[in-house]
Symmetry: C2
Subunit: 163 residues, 2 copies
């Protein structure tokens, strides 16, 4: 945990106002999912010029579909693309192994993570695979998942892969 | 490639008629996808008692959705489950990094792969994470993807993550 904390501190200095703005949008998607009774994780895929290519939130409950984590919803929404190398994935929670594998397979160049507290995610895995990972530590994202985990621990477990 | 060939030979001896039957079903799903103009990869998620929990094929073309590889289609079709530890994923082609990550995240106990020739996939990654991987080397799966790659190399590239 200490390594994460120091890492995120270093990284935060490199983040722009635009990064914080997109992370806030990812948080708002997470909040929408939470208000629908679902898991509060949202994500946005953004092109190098700042165009939003895709956005979405976890839909395990809403669609009864376990593969629709936030990042996967953004991937689905963005649809078919020739290349994602110059895109950035903003995700309110550090990617699980499915989402980290997806980011690597589809060659997404950069990931900005809003929360490594509720899950350390796969930050090192992504970096080893050549993905740039910046950690924002956005308090609203962290607080929302913390609240959700306290309220619905079984749903959190199911969403994170089951027993 | 030699390591794969020897590995798959060893593994094939442990495969049952039931395994071959499910792999043939995965192949038929792959063929259905191919006949629709899509990428020919199919998968089936089966419970320990032989019940098919979910089945599907790649739907990049059909749904314009890059995350629906064969294994992901089977996961989506199976829907919400408390645990997947005792399930087996039969997949006509060795899992890409997205699908391998999904198998690990959702704690699928075993994977049977029909083709490691067109893609070596992530067999070692899966084994390191504790997943049992058996390689069937089912000729119809191998031949179908080989034909597809020759016919539509750009679609193969796009499906496998893009440029």
């Amino acid at each position: 945990m200490q390594a994460c904390a120091s890492e995120s501190h270093d990284t935060q200095e490199q983040l722009s106002d635009k990064d914080r703005e997109f992370m806030h949008q990812a948080y708002e998607l997470a909040l929408k999912g939470y208000n629908e009774g679902g898991c509060p994780i949202g994500a946005i895929l953004v092109d190098e010029d700042g165009t939003v290519l895709g956005a979405g939130h976890n839909a395990l409950v809403q669609e009864g579909n376990p593969i629709i984590h936030g990042e996967m919803a953004a991937m689905r929404d963005a649809g078919r693309l020739d290349s994602r190398r110059k895109t950035t994935m903003y995700t309110s929670l550090s990617p699980c192994m499915m989402c980290a594998g997806t980011i690597v397979q589809f060659k997404i160049g950069r990931v900005v993570v809003g929360d490594v507290v509720n899950s350390p995610g796969n930050v090192e895995f992504l970096r080893e695979k050549g993905v740039t990972v910046d950690i924002l530590n956005y308090e609203p994202c962290i607080d929302l998942v913390k609240k959700f985990r306290e309220e619905k621990p079984e749903l959190w477990l199911e969403d994170w892969g089951g027993a």
